[in-house]
Amino acid sequence: MNIQGPGNHDSMTKVFQKKNISNEPVKTSFFNGKKDEVTLSARYTILEMATEPVVNQSTNSITIEPDKAYSLGEVNGKPLRFRLFQDGGFETNFSLRLSHDPETSVGKPVTAYEANAAKIFDSYSAEEHRQENRLMGRLMHLLQVADGKISVEQFNEYKSAHVASTQELLVAMGIDINRTFAINGVDFSLENGHLKRQ
């Protein structure tokens, strides 16, 4: 499994990046197997959003804001991108978020968007999804520390094969771990693999 920093060429950005993004709802043919088009109700998927660099190299800092798409390096040579939603959820280009009403959708045809989301999900191997999950898991924990939702101690004690190490994540994002770095305005350093608030 190769993990590379975001300095590499993000080919998917070229494929999916749209120009002249406005606030108007977008109609797009998501799924070649479907004849219909789907209206996204003024909501763009991460596939259509321009990616912003997650790391400011000059300040060695990360600033992540909701509703912006960021690059999180590569998984097995494939660009990994993510966005946070205002409600705290997130999606990646490996796994799009679905919006769904189970009360009313029973027996209803799968929409083009839902079919395409499944197609995208299936286009990545199980191992690629697991690596995506590992990186996103550690990132979400890191953001929780920066937001004060969990302590640095709790963060450092958390270990799981399902979540990447702090160093692995920071390197994947392009952070220089040999010096102090900032996450959403909070200064940290990494000492012997442990996060330390400055």
Binding site: V106, N133, E157
Partner: protein, 187 residues
């Protein structure tokens, strides 16, 4: 082998009360209904629900760390895992496709005590135009308010029980990890 298992079981019991970071496991069991049917291709199935809103075993402030939906499919119906797409949703109707029996961080930080649901659809033609899945949902959740630690396993009816097979699996994984501060989710 039995001695090894008993040792690991003992380790689990001893280790968990000393854990400082909440690393609790909650098995929500089968959904209601426990068998979820679909009638046709490329249409959404019935919904299966796990209503955890009134579960007294979970702290009100507990949030999701990881979630795992395992599901059996009906092979006799012509189903296969490749053509079966299962979505897991929170009470707001937001969700993701999940593969069976893998731990995801997709709902990390969300309140555990809510009404979860699952639905699926299939791409391929089914025998008799119908098929089903039988899902079991599991949560690894954390509660920083109480900072509690331990393994909590509940049955589908909400009663608190310790299920031997889950403990065995947990114990094996505790043994292979940094057991003093961490409980690997059951996989």
């Amino acid at each position: 082998m039995k001695k090894v298992f008993m040792l690991l079981l003992l380790l689990t019991i001893i280790i968990f009360p000393a854990t400082t970071f909440a690393s609790t496991y909650f098995d929500a069991g089968a959904s209601d209904p426990s068998t979820i049917w679909v009638y046709g291709t490329e249409t959404w199935s019935q919904a299966g629900y796990w209503d955890l809103t009134t579960d007294t075993q979970i702290p009100d402030t507990a949030v999701v760390d990881m979630v795992n939906e395992g599901y059996n499919i009906c092979y006799n119906c012509g189903m296969n895992y490749t053509d079966t797409h299962v979505g897991l949703f929170n009470s707001a109707g937001q969700g993701y496709y999940v593969e069976s029996s893998w731990w995801y961080i997709i709902f990390v930080g969300e309140k555990v005590k809510q009404k979860w649901s699952t639905q699926f659809w299939v791409e391929n033609q089914l025998v008799g135009s119908r098929g089903y899945i039988q899902p079991v949902l599991s949560f690894r959740w954390v509660d920083s308010t109480t900072g509690t630690a331990g393994v909590t396993t509940l049955n589908a009816d909400g009663t608190a029980k310790t299920e031997t097979i889950k403990i065995k699996e947990s114990a094996e994984q505790v043994n292979s990890s940094d057991a003093g501060s961490y409980q690997e989710p059951i996989n």
